[in-house]
Amino acid sequence: MDLTPSPDQEALLAATVEWCRAAMPLEHARDRPQGLWRELDAMGWLGMTAPSMGLDHATEALVFAELGRHVAPVAMISTAVARRWTTSEDKVALCLISGRVARVFDAEGAQTALAWQEGAAVSLAWKGAAKASPGLDPSASLSRFDPAPETITLDDSRAGLHLQLLTAAFALGCADAATDMAVDYAKLREQFERPIGWFQALKHLCADMAVRCAVARSQLYYAACALDADEPDATFHIAAAKRLADQAALDNGRGNIQVHGGIGMTDEAYPHLCLKRAHLLSFIAPVANTALLGESA
C-alpha cells in the first residue's frame, strides 16, 4: 500500500511541470499557438497512454492533473482515452452529447470525438472541418452538431472509466491552479497596509481551497490505483474522485475570483479561465447520485 508518487513518478512530474511552464503556460490558455498540438504529439504527451507504453493509470492521473493545472487543451483527455482503447493515432476531440445536440470541444484538426454516454465511452465522426464558435470556456473552441452524428460504443467498458478518471484529473489540476493563483495573490496584494492573506477571512478561504484539493487528490490517486488493480469497486471510487474534483474546481474557481477582488472579475485577468474550465469539465462524464449511493442500500 503506497499512495505517494514513487521517485520515478516524481521525476516524470517534475519534467511535466517544467515542460508545461515553458511550452504551455496557463497564461496562454486561450491563445494557444497553432503548432502546439503537433508539438504535444512530438514530445510524446499524446501517445503516453497507448498500451505499448505500459503506463499505469496512477501515473497517468498524476500527469493529467499537472496538465489540467496548466489548462491544457481538453482534447488531450479524449485523445489519451482513444490511444488506449482504439487504434486511432489522430487527434480526437472531446464531446458532450445532450439530447440531439453534440458539443465538440477542440475540434480543430480532428475528424472524430469521444463522448460519455451512460457510463460508456462512445465515438463519433464527421466529414470536413467542424465549424468552431466561441463558447463559455475561452480555452476550448466549441463546435455544435445538430443533430449529433451517430455514435459507436467503444468495446472495452473500462474506456468510460478511463475518460472519467482523466477528466477528474484535469478538474483537480484546475482546482490546484485556482488555489495557487489565489494564494500568490493573497501574499502580494496589500490593503490596510498588509498583505490580504494576513487576514483570517482570506487565509481561511485559501485554507479551504487547499483542503478541497487535498481531498480530491487523495481520492483521485486511490481511484486510479483501484482501476489499475481491477478492483470491483473501482467504478465507485472513480465516480467519487470525479465528484470531488468537480466540486473542488468549481468552488476554488469561485474562491480565487473572490480573493482577487475587482481584477478577478475581469476578462484580462486569469481567474475566470479556471472557473470556466471547471464548468466545462463538470459536464464531461458527470457523476449521478446513484453511482455514489451504490449497493450499500
Partner: protein, 383 residues
C-alpha cells in the same frame, strides 16, 4: 502507487480479526466516565494480556511495536469489530505514555509505563485553562519551588476523566515572571494529592466526562517534572510527533459503516426519492471514501519520509467536519424523533451532540485553518 496490502500484512489482518471476534465485550461501554471505569480497566487488562496494549509503543517499553501499516490494519479491524473506545485509558496510552517514553527519566518510565499498559494507572490531561484555550501559551497555573517540591496553585479545565484519574500530565508555569512558551514545566501530578478539587462538568449530551480541576497549595515532588524545569512546552509538543496520522482511522471506518447505514435507512423510508437527501448522502459517501484515501496517503508519506506530511492538519480539519456533517444528516433522517432524546440515551442524537467537540478539542477548526494557511500555503502569520 498501489493500494494492495502485502501477504504478511494480510496474514496480520487475519490474526487481528480472529482475536477481536472472540474477545470484544458483548455489553456496551457505559457512557459516564465514572460508570465506565471498571469496564475500561477490564478491557485494557484484556488487551494487555493478549499483547494488544500500546500497539505503537516500542517493545522495550512493553508495547507491541507494530509497523505503521500494521497499526492501520489493527485500528481498521478494531473499529470494524465494534470494539469499545478505550475511554479512561485514552490519555495514558495515546498521550501521557508516549510523552514519558520520549522525555521521562528511567525511574519515571519504570514506574508509570507498565501501569498505563495494564490499565492500572489512569491518566488525564492538564493543559487547557479558563484563560488558555486555543492560546495554550497563556497558561497561568503556577508552581512555586520550595526545597525539593513544587507548590501548585491555579485551575485547569475541560479535563476528561479528571474525576477517575490517578495521574495528570500537568503543564504549569514554574519560571518566575516568565511569559508565553518560556518557563512552563510538564509535571506528573498525583490526582489524590491534598488540595486538589475536581468539579465534574456535564456536557450538552448529558455525559459527565470532563471536569474543572482546582489546585490549592498542592505539593508535588520536583522529581515528578518530566524533561526538566522550564521545558514544558517542548515536552507537551513532543507527542504531536508520536501521532503518525493514524488518529482518524477508527473515525474513518466508523464513518464508512455509518454512511452505508444512513443510505440504507433513507432507502427503506423512501427518502432517496428526495433529490436533496440523495445528493447529500451521495456526497458524504464520496467524502468518506476520500477520507480513507487521505489517511492512506498520509501513512504512505510516513513510510516514505519517516514523518507525517504537512497535510496532517488538513486531514484533521476535514475528518472532524465530515464527522459532524454525517451526524447532522443522521439527525435530519430521524425527523421529529430527534425531539424524544433525553440524557442517558446513547443514540444518533447523543452522537450528534457529543460531536460538537470534534471541531473544538485539541485545536479548533479555526486554528487548523490558520495552520494550513500559514505552514502549508505560506501566508503571513497573523499572530
Amino acid at each position: 502507487m498501489d493500494i494492495a496490502f502485502s501477504p504478511d500484512d494480510q496474514r496480520f489482518r487475519g490474526e487481528c480479526r480472529e482475536w477481536l471476534q472472540h474477545n470484544v465485550p458483548k455489553e456496551r461501554r457505559p457512557l459516564d466516565a465514572a460508570d465506565a471505569l471498571p469496564f475500561d480497566k477490564a478491557w485494557q487488562r484484556q488487551l494487555f494480556e493478549a499483547g494488544w496494549a500500546g500497539i505503537n509503543w516500542p517493545k522495550a517499553y512493553g508495547g507491541r511495536g507494530l509497523t505503521i501499516v500494521q497499526q492501520v490494519i489493527w485500528l481498521e479491524e478494531y473499529a470494524t469489530a465494534h470494539a469499545p473506545w478505550i475511554g479512561a485509558n485514552f490519555v495514558g496510552v495515546n498521550h501521557g505514555g508516549p510523552t514519558l517514553i520520549v522525555n521521562a527519566s528511567d525511574a519515571q518510565k519504570a514506574f508509570h509505563l507498565p501501569r498505563i499498559l495494564r490499565g492500572e494507572g489512569i491518566w488525564c490531561q492538564g493543559f487547557s485553562e479558563p484563560g488558555a484555550g486555543s492560546d495554550l501559551a497563556g497558561i497561568k497555573t503556577r508552581g512555586r519551588i520550595e526545597g525539593d517540591e513544587l507548590v501548585v496553585n491555579g485551575t485547569k479545565i475541560w479535563t476528561s476523566f479528571a474525576h477517575v484519574a490517578d495521574w495528570q500530565e500537568l503543564v504549569i508555569r514554574t519560571g518566575e515572571g516568565s511569559r508565553r512558551h518560556a518557563g512552563l514545566s510538564w509535571v506528573i501530578c498525583d490526582m489524590r494529592a491534598p488540595g486538589i478539587t475536581v468539579r465534574p462538568i456535564r456536557k450538552m449530551s448529558g455525559q459527565t466526562e470532563f471536569a474543572q480541576v482546582f489546585y490549592d497549595d498542592v505539593r508535588m515532588p520536583l522529581a515528578h517534572v518530566v524533561g526538566g524545569l522550564g521545558n514544558g512546552w517542548k515536552v507537551a509538543m513532543s507527542t504531536l510527533g508520536f501521532e503518525r496520522g493514524t488518529g482518524f482511522i477508527a473515525d474513518q471506518v466508523k464513518a464508512t459503516h455509518e454512511i452505508d447505514a444512513l443510505i440504507a435507512r433513507a432507502r427503506s423510508r423512501g427518502l432517496l426519492r428526495d433529490s436533496a437527501i440523495a445528493g447529500q448522502l451521495a456526497q458524504l459517501r464520496a467524502e468518506v471514501a476520500a477520507l480513507r484515501a487521505m489517511t492512506y496517503r498520509n501513512i504512505s508519506e510516513v513510510l516514505r519520509t519517516g514523518q507525517p506530511g504537512p497535510e496532517a492538519s488538513v486531514i484533521r480539519l476535514f475528518a472532524s467536519e465530515l464527522g459532524q456533517r454525517l451526524q447532522r444528516v443522521a439527525v435530519v433522517l430521524l425527523d421529529e424523533e430527534v425531539l424524544d432524546f433525553s440524557y442517558g440515551n446513547d443514540d444518533a442524537v447523543a452522537a450528534y451532540l457529543r460531536g460538537f467537540a470534534a471541531t473544538i478539542a485539541g485545536g479548533s477548526s479555526q486554528i487548523q485553518r490558520d495552520i494550513i494557511g500559514e505552514r502549508l500555503l505560506g501566508l503571513p502569520k497573523s499572530r
